[in-house]
Amino acid sequence: MAIRERLSGNEAVAYAIKQVNPDVMPAFPITPSTEIPQLVASYISNGDIDTEFIPVESEHSAMSATIGASAAGARALTATSSCGMALMWELLYVAASNRLPIVLTLVNRALSGPININCDHSDSMGARDSGWIQIYAENNQEAYDNFLQAYRISEHKDVHLPVMICQDGFITSHALANIELIEDDKVKSFVGEYEPEHYLLNDDENIAIGPYAVSNYYMETKKGQITAMRNAKKVIQEIGKEFGAMSGRSYGLFEEYKLDDADYAFVMIGSAAGTTKDAIDELREQGVKVGLLKIRVFRPFPADEMTAALKNVKGIAIMDRAESFSGQSGPIASELGAALFMAKSEAKVINYIYGLGGRDYTVDNAKDIVTELRDYVEKGTEPEQYKYIGLRSR
């Protein structure tokens, strides 16, 4: 029987960490993820868990120590946001290329500048090519559930890659809301003990981690890394299903909401998907066939699966909560746009940039988008295909 509770997104992830009881957590505080290491530190000082907490002097050190701990054979994690993750930059690549099953719980926040503490996805989207698996949450429940699945994915023998568990800064991290928690014993048996095959503190085996690779080895090594990333697709789905059998909440690469018979579809990530669902319900009552594809896993990018799910829609609004400065699209639209082209899709597409630096995204925004998309499809209007919504303009 699930435990009915109310927690903020940060509290939910901290509680999941408590239930998993990882071995080592080096961390450096930054808004809006500060509460996570703070709450974990309280759990440790109260004797609830025996995680080794390492207070470090910067995020660069936080990720370095996490890498060291993971290489040593520990189940390791850290938490950060925005500029904190930017300071980890080179280590993100080191963690991934060294194939270390680290979990980073990221609370998405705009990456300067102008300096801003509120939500957008510019931090994690900037790190999309660093080799980390990226899993996003719509609400506190998903942030909790995703964390509980993270080590199963990262430690899987076909994967061995670090996992970034993302949730929206303040919007979910600091909002108190209902949640269903899972009993400790169920969590323990689902997550399991970590038994690394190769690790530095193994008395019986000498190993070297992170050696230099000359050109004759480098590309072959990278091919191994992307193969693991591709393997992760299947593993993530299997574990999402197994999690569903345990909790009643199954997870895949993305969620389809009223997409089966939809003429129009939103594609988006994170908390704004919930707001969009309310708009979809209103529009459905008016007879407009709108649906949503909410991306849960952005790395690996589920291109084939998404284009298949979108094959019958006439118009797609691809929603990016981050700018890529290509000048032609945000990050989701550039990747999904390419995937749709390769899948020979004929859907009309508009890419909306929304919610930067915490700009609110409302049910009305979503309804306006559908109006514009319908005009494009039904009346042949030619809207800008890459535009900002919720922007003041003269």
């Binding site: 503490i117 509120n118 919007i171 600091h174 108190l176 809301a177 209902n178 919930g274 609110d360």
Partner: protein, 191 residues
């Protein structure tokens, strides 16, 4: 009561409006509701105007935007009436609850023609009488529960006693004062 009740709080940094919104979410959660309680975050400074929100519903809450058309507004600091458009979008079938020492007639001209119910309460006097200090959030919490009817008084009082016993486990001497503040606010809030 309609499906989802939306409440907007206006206060100043340090007065506990955010805490009050979280407490309201908490007590409604215990009452069996689906809840949201969230502040609008910016640079947090003592005295700066802040906004916090609640949604309370029998259904799952999925929307994650701020609240633009609230059913109820709570004004924790009446000096905000000059600076902030507190009735913006406020449902005329709802109500506004204002912490003030002044009679309602003096307040109404600041409400931009709002046609719904206007409730006032002197949270400063209540707080100072009950607690010996000015913490407006407990009386304002009781006032909005009384005005909105999100739950019955008896249940509210008993849930709040539980909450305080947990929250003030290390200083139980303040529990009775807070309970008294709630009780006074419940009976004194007037339309």
């Amino acid at each position: 009561m309609k499906d989802t009740v939306e409440i907007r709080w206006h206060g100043r940094g340090g007065q506990g409006a955010k805490t009050a919104a979280l407490l309201l979410a908490d007590v409604c959660f215990k009452h069996g509701k689906n809840v949201q309680g969230f502040p609008e975050y910016g640079p947090e400074r003592m005295g700066a105007p802040i906004t916090a929100y609640n949604r309370i519903s029998d259904h799952e809450l999925r929307v994650h935007s701020n609240i633009y058309d609230p059913d109820y507004v709570v004004v924790v600091d009446e000096t905000l009436l000059e600076a902030i458009d507190v009735t913006a979008g406020l449902n005329p079938n709802g109500a506004i609850v204002i912490n003030t020492t002044r009679p309602k007639e003096e307040i109404i001209p600041h409400l931009k023609g709002y046609e719904g119910k206007v409730y006032t309460i002197d949270a400063r006097r209540i707080s100072e009488e009950a607690l010996g200090k000015y913490f407006p959030n407990s009386p304002m919490l009781a006032a909005i529960v009384a005005v909105s009817g999100v739950m019955e008084k008896d249940e509210f009082m008993s849930q709040m006693r539980d909450s305080y016993q947990h929250k003030f486990a290390k200083k139980p001497e303040v529990i009775d004062g807070n309970m008294k503040a709630l009780e006074m606010a419940f009976s004194e809030v007037t339309a």
